[in-house]
Symmetry: C2
Subunit: 256 residues, 2 copies
């Protein structure tokens, strides 16, 4: 038996539509102000991938993309735009499966996802010919934002970049960590005893993924657009961390 | 741009060690009181599988289990107690994979998980020879608890039963919905336009799984033991719901 514990997630008000080259730290700070919140050491700032990618100029005009033969073949199988398939292949190291509408790949960042995380929605006024790639290095993006938030506010916060990703076996996407800084990706429970002093069977907890799902729940989807969440009360040990902790090596994976 | 939105998850104080036949609704209500909280319509009460299973008497004494030949063979491959493997087989409809330490199955409830969710930790003072099965019908457990909470408090809340479940491709378990009542398992986004009026690509959100992960994050593990979470501010439409929404049919699954 123990005392209560509270986790509070606030999807911030006052976030404008982010475009290429916008200063995300300035946007975070003014959204905090619009929501009457001040950063505290130990908080986690959770960012939707989309605004990180946009601020880093990861929008691609499909008119500039020439699909390879392989992209054209895979486009026929998956019923997708060959230029989008070309980008999916460039962003991936391996195609695991494909079906109409989805190509499941190992992204160059290491994790498995559909369509290399390339997004055709909410890209901007350019219309259907613009798509958005994932950030080049979301761990590095998180670390840079974290440093700048520390410099400007004095608070030592963690930063987490998330995307909505599908899974094997279950319907529906869930918020999933694709980059982080200042918190663990994975919590190792193997050395902790259970209530009766026996070692726990379940050995590792996907801490950053659980937080990603929690933040996704309150971000809302589509037109609501609340891509910045402040999480307060997350039980974590402050350390550098990387999203690579969450990626199961291929040779250990029974389902690749 | 829109106003801020807040999701609050409180892991309740005052939850005793639950044993066979305990009245879980009485335990929830006294834990709420110990945490100075009152149920409100629209809240979600999230329960760790373990306390639901225990209250339903799902503890099994391994001394009563005679392993079949198949269980003995699989026990050799997976390096597990043949009696536990016998229970895993009884609780499952199909073995997908096995490796030392884990047998990945389709549980009779429909979802894929390791070791049929059978838990050897925190079962009680009986020692290593007692294990805990999942509830017989977690949707029905959730509905019964929901009805009784409504009767006793007047508040129309949703109830969610969660377990820590591993995934393909990623390290670490995450809180996952195994039973629910009064909220959707899945949120269909296919008809909603994005910020620029185009249909959203990502079509379905695993709402109950996101909430399960959020609650798991604050429940804490092992010795801390905070198995009841009150979630307030979850954006959901009240309807009956079932965890079956979240299970991808085998014939639609590229990874079975």
């Amino acid at each position: 038996m123990s005392g209560s514990a509270t986790l509070t997630l606030t999807a911030l008000a006052g976030v404008p539509n982010v475009t290429d080259g916008d200063n995300l730290v300035a946007i975070i700070l003014s959204a905090l102000e619009a929501s009457a919140l001040t950063l505290q050491t130990g908080d986690v700032v959770v960012l939707a991938q989309k605004i990180v990618s946009k601020s880093e100029g990861r929008t691609v005009d499909l008119a500039t993309i020439e699909p390879s033969d392989r992209a054209r073949e895979l486009a026929a199988v998956s019923d997708k735009d060959p230029r989008v398939v070309e980008l999916i292949l460039r962003e991936s190291t391996e195609v695991l499966r494909s079906r109409p509408g989805a190509i499941i790949v190992a992204h160059r960042l290491g994790f498995v996802c559909a369509n290399a995380g390339i997004d055709q929605s909410n890209v901007g006024a350019g219309g259907d010919d613009r798509v958005l790639l994932l950030p080049k290095d979301p761990d590095a993006s998180s670390a840079a934002i974290r440093r700048e938030l520390k410099r400007r506010t004095g608070a030592d916060v963690a930063v987490l970049v998330i995307d909505s990703i599908g899974r094997a076996w279950r319907n529906g996407t869930i918020g999933t960590a694709i980059g982080l800084s200042g918190l663990p990706g994975l919590l190792d429970l193997r050395t902790r005893p259970d209530l009766f002093g026996r070692p726990l069977q379940t050995s590792e907890l996907g801490l950053a993924d659980e937080l990603a799902s929690a933040a996704s729940l309150i971000m809302g989807q589509a037109a609501e657009g609340r891509p910045i969440v402040l999480a307060r009360g997350v039980p974590y040990d402050r350390r550098e961390g990387t999203m690579r902790e969450l990626i199961r090596p291929k040779e250990m994976d029974l389902f690749r």
